[in-house]
Amino acid sequence: MTGSKSKYELMLADIAAKSKKVPITDAENFQIIRELNEGMEDFLLTQKKIEKNSANHLRGVCLNA
């Protein structure tokens, strides 16, 4: 059944017609990921150390008011 399209479907069809898939090459894909990961290695190592020290830092302070 075809029937008439809703206003939303018509809008969507209009936008879909004006949009297009632009394939990402392997080189671009690698570039996105490489740049996303930039500096992460050092950052994660520092965070790991902080997490460990944070747990040690908690002294047995009684939290009385």
Binding site: I32, M40, L58
Partner: protein
Amino acid sequence: MDQSPSIIDIITENIKNPLRVEIFPIDQVAAHISTLFVEDYGLAVAVADKIVAKHLVDYFKTLKENLYVLVERKYVDKMYRDAYYHYYSSKLNPYYRDCIRLSFFDTEMVTDDFKRFDATGIETLKSRISEHYLGFLVLRPTFPRIIGRNALSPRAIINDNIECCLAKIAATVYAVKQKVLAFPHASQDHQTMTCAETTVWSILEYFGNKYPEYKPVLLSTINQTLHKFSYKRLLPSDGLTAEQITYAIRDFGFGAMIYSREEQEKVSYDFNSIISTYVESGIPVIAVLENEELGHAVNIIGRTKHSPGSVTGTEPHVTLSNGLAVIDFNKIERKYVLIDDNQPPYQLAKLDKPCEDYITDERWHSCDITNIIVPLYHRIYLDAVVATKNFYNAFRNSIIGVNDGEKRVARIFLASTRTYKQYVAMNETLNILVKEMILALPMPKFIWVAEVSKLDSYEKGDCDELYIQDATEPYKNSDVLSNLSFLACYTDGTFFVQNFGKFERVRTFAHPFQQFKENLN
């Protein structure tokens, strides 16, 4: 001549110890409570007056002046009864079991308003009560620390220009069931509860009332849990360590995280922005306040509201390598909303030396937030610090970044997919192709979101770019050739989506869209 009896005469002649309800303007309540403390609990008049003046009047000072209060005597409070049966009843002195409950309204109410006696529809009657109901306060007979369980709407507070994590908390008012949007609060009684227990209780009460995954618990259950982790007795309470608080939170089903200010600041990471990120995510955090002599725990549940101009007028916090200057919403200085069990609820304080802002006793003023404990949903594996770093790497990315050099406001937060997809579906101004793509995208229960706005868009309540990360991808590998936490982004009129390591790109058009505001009430 015979006088016909009043209804009160009939009740008191026939019912032993009848329940009684009265309504007063708020400025007359303190005197009435003082009388009840004398009549019902046998306190000396001078003692009752002093306790009311010190504890109740202080609480009322934070409330608006035009409120009306319904007073119920002989109220059975679940939280106090739990403490009573587990502790107070085991003592020699005859402690009382019953409490007084105060219910607050923002308009004049009379007792008839709570009963149907004519053709007025039930829904009309109930909706009038709901419209004006602002929550309740239980006064428990643990003199002088009388402020018991309470759930008060921020609408009742003088400083109501705030946005907070709030849950719908059920209560009955003169036999009519009601719900109030509030954050649970109680004061410590110094015997069964100190600040540590009340912060844990209120966090669990909040989540238990808000999400079906959790349930509210009483103090005896918290103590039972902590028994496994304590070398000494827990009653009378001597406080808990931050480790015990974390253990309790984890044992009740949360993926608890601890952050230390000292450690974060050693590597120049802004500790306060971690607090802000979680608060912006609708997740209340437990803050440990310490100085050389004092230790305390409070909940941070919200922040003051901003005018858009105050955000866009802030100097950028960072300029990225692609020239993008970013005003980080989570780094903007502001006051936060604290639930402190030594004070009335919804105290406002900055994150550096918070006690200076709301505690008069100067011994507290040097206290700083040394640690925070964050009750995360157990399947949130990606934390605020790594998620934020990841977003910043995306903002400066040469393909998926924001590369037009125009200044932006970035707001980073966690959202539940359920709430976020509803926001997307209901968003009037979001490009509908992007809307359909996001709705079709499989997502975990929680996602990290970064909304990025040009300054003029931000001032209109809009954003221009959007980045979404999967909160179940912790990004732990340091030698990865992928970054799996990124799910999608919408930037410069282009929608990018990642399918397990492979990015796809759909070029459509750019259009500002309404910001997400569902995390805080």
